[in-house]
Structure formats: structure tokens, C-alpha cells
Amino acid sequence: MLALILSAWVAACAGLGYGLLKQCRYPLNVYGLLLCSTLMLLGVFWMFPLLRAFLGC
């Protein structure tokens, strides 16, 4: 379940990041990149402890 959530999150972030970088239109990309950055960090700080506990490392 955790792996599924993590995969979905990674795919969502990668898709969002790719889409925003691809268009790279100023100033839209600034807000887009910030949104992507927020999601990435929220995901990392939220998932990391769960992942460590899940993997037992």
C-alpha cells in the first residue's frame, strides 16, 4: 500500500515537474515550480518516516 502511494506521489511530482519545465513560460513557471517544490518536500517529509518504519531501517 505504501509503495503504491509512494509510486503515485513520485509519478505525480515527476509529471507536474516535467509539464511545468516543458512550458517554462515566465512568470507562470515560477509559481508552478514553487508548487512542485512544495509538493516534493511535503511528500518527502511526510513519507520518509513512514518509509523508514516500513522498511525497518
Binding site: 509559481y31 514553487l34 511535503l42 517529509f45 520518509f48 531501517c57
Partner: protein, 256 residues
């Protein structure tokens, strides 16, 4: 337009210009961090006998100081240098059509390179002293990234206002000095009075530094909840700084 080529060129030049003309050249970029690490670890930890409560290793205090000071140096240098970046690069701004906020990225990148060199040497030291690495250390790049984002956001606000109020750079320098001493980097938070200790949770720099200290020194988890809150806060600061800049952009370009 966002000119990534220009940002990278400025970063490279900023880094190489510091050692241009010297015999050892870019080697100085490795010598300086090495000197700092020797001072932090050997002088503070070993010769001065600094130690942390409940820790017996002679290197623990040195590691504690290093993992606080190295990210703090990157953060404070980025913030301090960001204040005057529009004024210093006015020859580029007036000649090339470039996104001004992206100029702050080159300052941050340059400081990140210094951070990476120092941390590489630090990791070599840790390996040599038989330090036990753990998976929590994988968070270090993310915490550092968030810290630098904070410096860029705050720096963009300051850079915008410094164009109109030139004294701001000096004021930021003074604030950074107080901020450094109000953040437990070279001392432990336990020695602080209760009132100051309670206020530490409102100091974003402490959350960052505490995260590094928890990961490296105590091999424990960083304060995840505070990091999550800080993620939202830092991006909020960035959006606010960008909105302020966009409002004042025309005046900023006219003034410089």
C-alpha cells in the same frame, strides 16, 4: 526570460573569480573548508575539550558545531549577498533581458557548491573516524534545499527593498549576527533560559540546524512536523517575495 545559461555562467565565474590569479587556484576551494573543519573539530572539540552533555566521544562536539555552522554559513552568505545582487549586477540587468529573481539563484548555487565541497570533506572525516551512517542522512539534501529556498525567498524581499534603501544590506548583516547567536549552533539549547528556549520553536534557522544536529550527532529523526510547517512557510515567503518584486519590478529596474 529565464536564462539558465547566464545563471550557470555567473555561478562559475563567481566561484572561479575568488581564486583567480592565485598559484593554487581552485584548490583553495578545498583548502578553506578543510581549515574550517580542522578548527571546528580539532580545536573546538579536541584541544578546547568541548563536549556535549551525555556524549563521551572527543569528536562529538566538533561534529555538532560543524553540522550547524556549515549550513548556517551557506544560508547567511546567500542571504547577505542576495541583498545587493541587483545593484552589483546592474551592468548585466541593464544590457540583457533577464529575470531578476533568477540572479538570486546564482548566489545560492555558488554557496551550495562551497557547502558541497565542505560536506564532502566532512564525510571523508566521518568515514575515517568510523562514524556509523544511517538512512536518515538521506534527508540532508532536502533540508539544505529548504534552507536555501528560505534564504532565496528572504533574500529576494531584501534585494528588492535594498534597491530603494541601501542601508538594508548593513541592517541584514547585523540581524544575521544576532540571529546566529540566538540559534544554538556553537552551544547547546539546554543552557538557555526557559523563556528563550520556548521561543526557539519560532526560529526557523533553529529548526534547520536542529534537524542537522539530530541526524548527524544524535542519529535521531529530525522534527518532521516542524519541517512540514516550515515547507509551507518557506514557499509562502517565496510567493510573497515574488509578488512584492513583481509589484515593484518596474521601479526596481528604473532605480538601478
Amino acid at each position: 526570460m529565464v536564462n539558465f545559461g547566464l545563471i550557470w555562467e555567473l555561478t562559475k565565474r563567481d566561484f572561479t573569480e575568488q581564486y583567480a590569479g592565485s598559484v593554487l587556484g581552485a584548490l583553495w576551494a578545498m583548502i578553506w573548508p578543510l581549515v574550517y573543519l580542522v578548527i571546528y573539530i580539532m580545536i573546538f572539540g579536541k584541544l578546547m575539550g568541548g563536549h556535549l552533555p551525555g556524549e563521551s566521544s572527543i569528536y562529538t562536539y566538533g561534529i555538532y558545531v560543524t553540522v550547524g555552522l556549515v549550513p548556517w554559513s551557506a544560508f547567511s552568505s546567500t542571504l547577505n549577498r542576495s541583498c545587493s545582487v541587483f545593484l552589483e549586477k546592474k551592468h548585466i540587468i541593464t544590457k540583457l533581458s533577464t529575470s531578476l529573481p533568477m540572479l538570486l539563484v546564482y548566489v545560492s548555487l555558488s554557496e551550495t557548491i562551497t557547502f558541497l565541497i565542505t560536506m564532502t570533506i566532512f564525510f571523508v572525516f566521518l568515514v575515517a573516524t568510523g562514524y556509523t551512517f544511517h538512512s536518515g542522512l538521506l534527508l540532508v539534501p532536502f533540508i539544505f534545499y529548504l534552507m536555501q529556498l528560505f534564504a532565496v525567498g528572504f533574500g529576494l524581499l531584501m534585494a528588492t527593498f535594498t534597491v530603494f534603501i541601501r542601508d538594508l544590506k548593513q541592517i541584514v548583516g547585523i540581524i544575521l549576527q544576532f540571529w546566529f547567536w540566538f540559534t544554538p549552533i556553537v552551544y547547546v539549547p539546554q543552557i538557555l533560559p526557559d523563556l528563550v528556549k520556548r521561543m526557539l520553536v519560532y526560529n526557523p534557522a533553529y529548526i534547520f540546524v536542529q534537524s542537522f544536529q539530530q541526524l548527524f550527532v544524535y542519529q535521531a529523526d529530525p522534527p518532521y512536523r516542524q519541517l512540514l510547517l516550515l515547507t509551507v512557510l518557506v514557499h509562502g515567503v517565496l510567493v510573497l517575495a515574488y509578488l512584492v518584486f513583481r509589484t515593484l519590478e518596474k521601479d526596481v529596474r528604473d532605480f538601478i
